[in-house]
């Protein structure tokens, strides 16, 4: 596809702190849950997806569309709880770095 027609993505490197360590599926579900903050109307302009997950160090890289980066960061900052096995666990997803390439985001995470 021509570069002007191609969608442009941004990769947001995250640091996760939570009561219990998260699994890849948990984080993917949390990202789907950001629709609660972003809304059905704006979600197609964000489209967050989990690109990379380091379970040992609890760090991740989330891919989103370039026009939705601010909304994704707002949704992540407002996420305080995650429901697992009918219990509410407190979490904090802190964005460290935003990059146009996944390579640079991995470098910032120290991978």
């Amino acid at each position: 596809m021509k570069p002007t027609l191609r969608e442009n993505y941004r990769y947001v490197a995250l640091e996760i702190s939570s009561e219990t360590p998260l699994a890849r599926e948990d984080l993917a579900r949390i990202l789907e849950g950001t629709i609660e903050f972003i809304g059905k109307i704006h979600y197609p302009s964000v489209m967050p997806r989990l690109a990379y997950f380091d379970q040992k160090n609890q760090r991740a890289i989330v891919r989103c569309l370039n026009q939705g980066v601010d909304e994704l960061k707002t949704a992540l900052a407002m996420t305080t709880h995650y429901e697992k096995d009918n219990t509410k666990l407190r979490i904090h997803l802190r964005p460290i770095y935003t990059s146009g390439t996944i390579r640079k985001a991995k470098e910032k995470l120290g991978i």
């Binding site: 601010d70 407002m78 964005p95």
Partner: protein, 151 residues
């Protein structure tokens, strides 16, 4: 990492504060310097308090005019925006900020966190307060001036 100031409601060690790049004030130690309550109550305690905090973010033109004349700042708590169904609080706060800007009132921002998971640094707070009409620079400034009123 640049240092910023915050008010919190839980115990945190000095080493942890340094690693996060924050200097925390305990809310229980600052209670006498912060006036908390409705607009009517804040008008009565305007002279004694260094910082004003109205959790309902109601607009009182009389309070804003008097606070602006005496250069008293207002506190914005990030934890108010992290509660469930915070959309109403965001709406009230955005109106509050708009009127406070008209009266040239200083806005101080603190997380007022009850645990480490509710701590938000200035960048994250800027992402949230963007919904209320504040710019990134205004949020950073709001975090940086807390020590002037609490030290």
């Amino acid at each position: 990492m640049a240092m910023y100031y915050d008010i919190i409601n839980f115990e945190i060690s000095e080493t942890e504060q340094k690693s996060l790049g924050i200097k925390c004030y305990q809310f229980k130690d600052c209670k006498d310097k912060i006036a908390i309550g409705s607009a009517d109550r804040l008008i009565k305690s305007l002279r004694k308090a260094r910082i004003l905090y109205c959790p309902s973010y109601e607009i009182s033109l009389e309070l804003f005019a008097k606070a602006g004349a005496q250069n008293k700042p207002f506190l914005i708590s990030i934890s108010d925006l992290l509660k469930e169904n915070s959309y109403l609080t965001i709406y009230r706060l955005s109106n509050f900020i708009r009127v406070a800007r008209h009266y040239k009132i200083t806005l101080i921002i603190a997380s007022m966190a009850n645990d480490i998971y509710s701590l938000r640094d200035p960048e994250e707070a800027a992402s949230i307060l963007r919904l209320c009409g504040m710019t990134r620079e205004q949020v950073r400034y709001g975090f940086s001036i807390l020590n002037r009123y609490l030290d």
